[in-house]
């Protein structure tokens, strides 16, 4: 009781400014901790639900872990055997090459077409621009599974409109044509589905980015005699670089990991000719219940992806700054 009394007299005696100074001092001392406190909940959750499985994934890749081990809840440590198995299998190199090629073509097509559509949007009249944007947005918002079902139907061998259209145009051999008999044709369809799904995001984001490029700059370049391509190369591209970087990185990540499109288009039973790394990893794990080997393939896949995107990521670190 008396101590409270004392404190009150003390506080009253102290000039108000001094008290405020104290509080400010304490705040200043705690201030550096604020961002960490804000981050903590999200990081903790991520560490628990992502960090632990990621650790589990790596440790699983060093184990023999099949159906028996699943029931026992305990794998057998076998060191690098899974990795040795994979790397010495010539099929691995086929799948790696196929995955890289697929991702490269998909990213290339998405970025080039996306840029062209974004530039087109910029040069359209208002009404046409709204119409095209609305179309892109509708395609973008399509749930993946829905979109895949639609394309499956469009390419259906019996009643698909694509076969009908090609036949109608006089192209021979497309009556009752099964597009998935031949991997090259099958992958063409898969590519169309993937690019169709990815294009709107890239085109709309680039279009939004283009509005940040000052028109005066482009006009000045044009007055100085630059052609359309030169204007794009020397004025538009540098301003848009951060957006291009982020889109290219995300597209690479997504297209490297393409899974659902193939899985669903091929009725959940893709033959080995259609295996990309993701499908292979999944079918080793859940198809033939070799979780250890499946995990090893996944780890290799992430490492490859890190190598492929390391250039972008480094650039991005530089853009974001310390």
């Amino acid at each position: 009781m008396s101590s409270i009394q004392d404190r009150r007299t003390l506080t009253e005696a102290r000039p108000a400014t001094d008290l405020a100074g104290r509080a400010a001092q304490r705040r200043r001392r705690l201030a550096p901790l604020v961002p960490y406190a804000l981050l903590a909940p999200a990081l903790l959750v991520l560490a628990a639900i992502l960090g632990f499985p990621m650790y589990r994934l790596v440790s699983l890749s060093f184990q023999r872990y099949g159906l028996r081990e699943l029931f026992a809840g305990q794998g057998t440590w076998i060191g690098l055997e899974n990795y040795r198995d994979i790397v010495t299998d010539s099929f691995f190199w086929t799948v790696v090459a196929r995955t890289m090629l697929f991702a490269a073509v998909a990213v290339g097509l998405t970025m080039v077409l996306g840029t062209l559509v974004a530039l087109l949007l910029r040069n359209l009249g208002r009404r046409m621009r709204v119409a095209v944007t609305a179309g892109l947005v509708a395609a973008w918002a399509m749930p993946t599974l829905t979109a895949i079902s639609i394309w499956q139907w469009l390419f259906d061998f019996e009643f698909g409109i694509v076969n009908w259209l090609l036949t109608w145009l006089g192209v021979d051999g497309f009556e009752q044509h099964n597009w998935f008999d031949q991997p090259l044709q099958g992958f063409t369809v898969i590519m169309i589905v993937v690019v169709w799904g990815a294009l709107p995001f890239v085109a709309i984001t680039l279009h939004a980015g283009l509005t940040q490029v000052p028109r005066e700059l482009e006009e000045a370049a044009r007055v100085d005699g630059a052609g359309a391509f030169q204007v794009f190369r020397h004025v538009t591209l540098p301003v848009m670089k951060p957006i291009f970087l982020i889109l290219a990185t995300l597209s690479t990540i997504w297209d490297f990991k393409v899974f659902t499109q193939i899985w669903v288009l091929l009725n959940q039973r893709p033959s080995r000719e259609y295996f990309l790394l993701g499908i292979w990893s999944y079918s080793e794990s859940f198809g033939v219940t070799r979780y250890g080997k499946g995990a090893a393939i996944a780890v290799v896949m992430v490492l490859l992806l890190l190598v492929v995107t390391s250039f972008y990521v480094r650039q991005m670190v530089r853009a974001v700054g310390p």
Partner: protein, 276 residues
């Protein structure tokens, strides 16, 4: 003059082509959903669903567990979005407003985390949830969705926060607001549209998922709409009228929400990409 008109005509032709390619599949889905059986399976395409029928929709909705699947999907989506929004907002504040040691590393981590293929993580997540007795549980699937919704939400929200000038908060603090007060009165209302946009985007990410639900949810009464949609394809073939009607129903919420907020999402993304 003629040359300009020619260029314009060229642009418009290109636009029509782009529009056709993007929209035709969607049109075909909606149209097929309203067609009668014989019109769906005709070798000569029927361009218009006339005469139409609602039979496909009726049979889609009458599929077993439909309402339960809708309820499950809703529960899962709402839980995931709410949890990730709160956590992501706090983290995005830190990433967008404070300079601290490890900030760049954190931002890079948000990108790198997205590289890990979910298909691969499903294995250990499955084993982890299995150990905790949470497979075939909606809670388990919510936790799994957080792995990709949370990093994405932090990234997007950071974009929105970076976009709001710090001067506004500083002015409020000069006028006597505390830092927390400035956040609450100035930043929060300004970032609210960003929160809505991020929520909708997360909604769509979760709504669209097929794979995670497919692996983690086994019993029919626990399934989500993604699985419901996949159930139209059986070993006996695909029931196209039903799939297309079901797909239309499945797509409507996503498309509607998305149309409402897409402009904001895009501005948040681009701002986040450009500003450090």
């Amino acid at each position: 003059m003629t040359r300009r008109r020619l260029t314009r005509a060229g642009y418009n032709a290109a636009a029509v082509l782009v529009l056709a390619v993007t929209v035709f599949p969607i049109y075909w889905m909606v149209a097929t959903g309203f067609k009668r059986g014989p019109d769906i399976l005709s070798f000569e395409p029927r361009w218009l669903p006339i005469p139409g029928t609602l039979e496909n929709y009726r049979s889609a909705v009458a599929k077993p567990h439909f309402l339960q699947d809708v309820r499950n999907s809703m529960l899962v989506v709402v839980a995931t979005v709410l949890i990730s929004l709160v956590l992501a907002f706090l983290a995005a504040l830190a990433a967008g407003r404070f300079n601290f040691r490890g900030r760049a590393a954190m931002i890079v981590m948000l990108i790198v985390v997205q590289m890990v293929p979910l298909e691969a993580l499903i294995i250990p997540i499955y084993l982890m949830l299995d150990g905790a007795g949470q497979t075939d549980r909606l809670a388990g699937i919510v936790v799994t969705y957080l792995t990709f919704v949370l990093p994405f939400s932090i990234w997007t929200l950071r974009g929105f926060i970076v976009n709001i000038p710090t001067e506004l908060e500083e002015a409020a603090m000069v006028d006597g607001c505390t830092r927390a007060g400035a956040f609450r009165r100035i930043l929060f209302p300004l970032v609210a549209p960003g929160l809505v946009a991020t929520a909708v985007f997360s909604f769509i990410l979760v709504w669209n998922d097929y794979l995670i639900a497919y692996v983690l949810l086994r019993s029919p009464e626990k399934q989500t709409l993604g699985i419901w949609l996949a159930s139209f394809t059986t070993n006996h073939g695909t029931e196209w009228g039903g799939v297309m009607a079901g797909s239309t129903l499945f797509a409507i919420p996503a498309v509607v929400f998305f149309l409402l907020v897409q402009r904001r999402v895009v501005s948040g993304l681009t701002a986040g990409a450009v500003k450090g």
